[in-house]
Amino acid sequence: MSTATATHDEHHDHGPAPGLMRWITTTNHKDIGTLYLLFALLMFLIGGAMAMIIRAELFMPGLQVVDPMFFNQMTTVHALVMIFGGVMPAFTGLANWLIPIMIGGPDMALPRMNNWSFWILPFAFTMLLSTLFMSGGGPAAGWTIYPPLSLQMGDGFPFMIFSIHMMGVSSVMGAINVIVTIMNMRAPGMTLMKMPLFVWTWLITAYLLIATIPVLAGAVTMLLTDKFFGTSFFNAAGGGDPVMYQHIFWFFGHPEVYILILPAFGVVSQIIPTFARKPLFGYSSMVYATASIAFLSFIVWAHHMFTVGMPVAGELFFMYATMLIAVPTGVKVFNWVSTMWKGSMTFETPMLFAIAFVVLFTIGGFSGLMLAISPVDFQYHDTYFVVAHFHYVLVTGAIYSIMAATYYWLPKWTGNMYDERLGKIHFWVSTISVNVLFFPQHFLGLAGMPRRIPDYAPQFTEFNMISSIGGFVFGLSQLLFAYIVIKTIRGGEKATDKVWEGAEGLEWTLSSPPPYHSFTTAPEVK
């Protein structure tokens, strides 16, 4: 570690290469972080456009906009783009930007791999999106790509599988980099239990990624050989088992859910203390709760498949294990509330998003608890109730934390303050519309509307119209978000080094924006 710092010292004056080559050849954690974040923003807008098509078709009963086959492609690709192209790269971008400067290191530990893991992504997503223009269209079997249905896909099938492999390779390389960086690049005195919570949650997330992405890769490879090489892993007629795919997929898929939310917990745990001007309540219990959630995430996967016909003992086990997750999650929520309690709060845009996160994520948590109860899940499963649940967790959970993080650290990244008035408008329009969008979907699901249908019986019309109107407003308000971000990058009131009055942590000791090589001499950690 000390030698790494020493080599950097020798040429500390060397800045970025000029022009486009700076971005293609960069090994700088901040440049790569920026690339990841901008890529995620682009994917968020593309995936959002697909959601607009979905909500337009569902605005009223009957078919008005697209063929059902294309509708299915939209629901599938929307999910793949948002999960693998939006949320995951956004968090990796935050990790790149923040982990080195939070632990007092000069850069990520494996900078060339860092460059590669980013530059795989544009190719992976170009390939995935190109399937929409191939004969037979894009994937249309849902993001879970269950066989046998997924095997009916046309020419795009192998391209979809290959793109998932590329996304997986990128994620695993990103995760390895995070672990190696955290384990080796911490400034002297930065013990594990002194690390900011964002670093902790990412460390645990990185292990989840390494443990589960290869499982997904295995599952989709088996799909590939079933389709092209005559194997019968999932083909009952050949002695295979279509339910086995679901078990393998969800062994990846459930930890994946926590991959999407643990870094969000980290972000919110950074922001709330800053604006409450009071240290995070129960730091160590937060760390233990995160670790418990990560552990439990490996033993609950079959709650996604209560209706496949498991033995009662299996259903009971997965129900109890899933309910248990409510305990550490509850601890986190209580700790955030206690951090706010008797603080001295101000409500700048990042804090607004963080408080909305706590409230709306908790609503998603409640519906999650309801879904865990297997006898009732037989009613909820595969309805709009589930759609409402995971959008509360992923949109007002994961994506809200990413927006909170953007407003919170954007002045540090760019050296410019964002426009607080526009930020607040963005927050309020988004928060009202996102609830108009997703809350009525609880009612639709309970009243019996299945998910993934392009058309519905007329008794579901009213709530679908309300939901679509909320969707259009929410979609439009994200253009405002993009505008605010671009405006801040291009200029604005200069930010101070500390930016926020209550900010604590090493990143605020650096200039805004930070120097090209973050900490060339290790800072002192008290």
Binding site: N72, Q152, K227, A326, V327, F334, V337, M340, V376, M465
Partner: protein, 378 residues
């Protein structure tokens, strides 16, 4: 343009609909109580958990709200110094755990009752197909397909000009209902012929996946005569949204009468299949079979969907030798959505639909396929 106009009118309609919300009985907000003992237990379990969540929500959100209102800098609040308390952490680990246990106990009871499908008085086999259901009464041998009703079939297209709200039971109506007796413990065995489907009637309180190569079971005891509607709940391809389920529950005596009538109908159909048919008769019959079984993919005009579902109009198979045409319809094509229709269509229906395909959409082979020719290759 036309679409824009329809949208604008409906946008105005939203306001009206909201105003009339209380007047509309069909504006479902909550889970249905259903008509079986299990569905009612599921409903009350759902309500219990919902209220527990609401209660916890009131406490947590109340604390946040209070804090946001009072502990703010512009009101001169000075931050407190506390940031740790092992006692408090233990309390809010243990208390939720106890609440969870109190939820798990009734949930376990309901689950065990649901999964006990023994002591059934009759059995119905349900098979999912892309995109219809087949019902087979194991005790009486009655067997039929249940597909989307013609009224919806006509209204579900992109270019439909009429008003959806005027189609009775749009999307939730079928040609042949599943008729069941009330107050009888009925066991369902559920499977699939192609991809995974899920059989769901909300009034029964459960759904169960129909999986190829697997047989799942579930049960229901319907307490009230009536018509209960549901849908396929597992994404199963293009027409996943178009495979409804309609159950008609009637008193056991009425049900017995229905069984008798069905059996009489079956033997009449057998006699019909034996005779020789004219081309015109086959074509007329074939058009109905085509619309119920083929049009979802190959489209009513026989043009298919480019790149997804091949056209029948002018296709080499439908205008080529009879044997090849019969083979693909009987045995399907592996690795595609084209399933084997051998077990789905009778000799007569198969003969009729193939004759129709060979003489419609500008395919003028002029030949007819007789039921006996289908029988010969079975």
């Amino acid at each position: 343009m036309k679409m824009m106009k329809r949208w604008l009118t409906s946008l105005g309609g939203v306001g009206l609909a909201l105003a009339a919300a209380s007047a509309s009985a069909e504006w479902g907000l909550n889970m249905r109580q259903g008509v079986t003992p299990i569905s009612q237990e599921v409903y009350s379990l759902h309500m219990t958990i919902l209220w527990v969540c609401v209660a916890i929500g009131v406490v947590v959100f109340g604390a946040i709200f209070w804090s946001v209102m009072h502990h703010r800098k512009d009101k001169g609040a000075v931050p407190a110094k506390f940031h740790e308390s092992t006692t408090v952490e233990i309390v809010w680990t243990v208390v939720p755990f106890l609440i969870l246990i109190s939820m798990a106990i009734p949930a376990t009871k309901v689950l065990i009752a649901m999964e006990n499908s023994s002591d059934s008085e009759m059995t119905v086999k349900v098979t999912g197909y892309q995109w219809k259901w087949q019902y087979e009464y194991q005790d009486s041998g009655i067997k039929f397909f249940s597909t989307l009703a013609k009224s919806t079939q006509d209204a579900r297209n992109l270019d439909y000009q009429g008003d959806i709200n005027e189609v009775e039971h749009y999307l939730l109506d079928v040609d042949n209902r599943l008729v069941l007796p009330t107050n009888t413990r009925i066991r369902f065995v559920i499977t699939s012929n192609d991809v995974i489907h899920s059989w769901w009637v909300p009034d029964f309180g459960w759904k169960k996946d129909a999986i190829p190569g697997f047989i799942n079971d579930a049960w229901a005891l319907i307490e009230k005569p009536g018509v209960y509607r549901g849908q396929c709940a597992e994404l199963c391809g293009r027409d996943h949204g178009y495979m409804p389920i309609v159950v008609e529950a009637m008193e056991p005596e009425k049900y017995q009468a229905w069984v008798k009538a069905q059996k009489a109908g079956l033997s009449a159909a057998d006699a019909e299949a034996g005779k020789s048919w004219t081309k015109a008769e086959l074509i007329t019959k074939g058009e109905n079979v085509y619309n119920a079984n083929c049009a979802a993919c190959h489209q009513a005009n026989g043009k298919g969907l480019p790149g997804v579902f091949p056209a029948i109009a002018g296709s080499a198979i439908a205008t080529g030798p009879k044997a090849g045409h019969i083979d693909i319809a009987m045995n399907g094509k592996a690795g595609t959505a084209m399933s084997a229709f051998k077990d789905q269509l009778s000799d007569l229906d198969m003969a009729a639909v193939l004759t129709y395909q060979r003489n419609a959409f500008g395919n003028d082979t002029g030949d007819a396929i007789q039921p006996s020719e289908i029988k010969a290759v079975r």
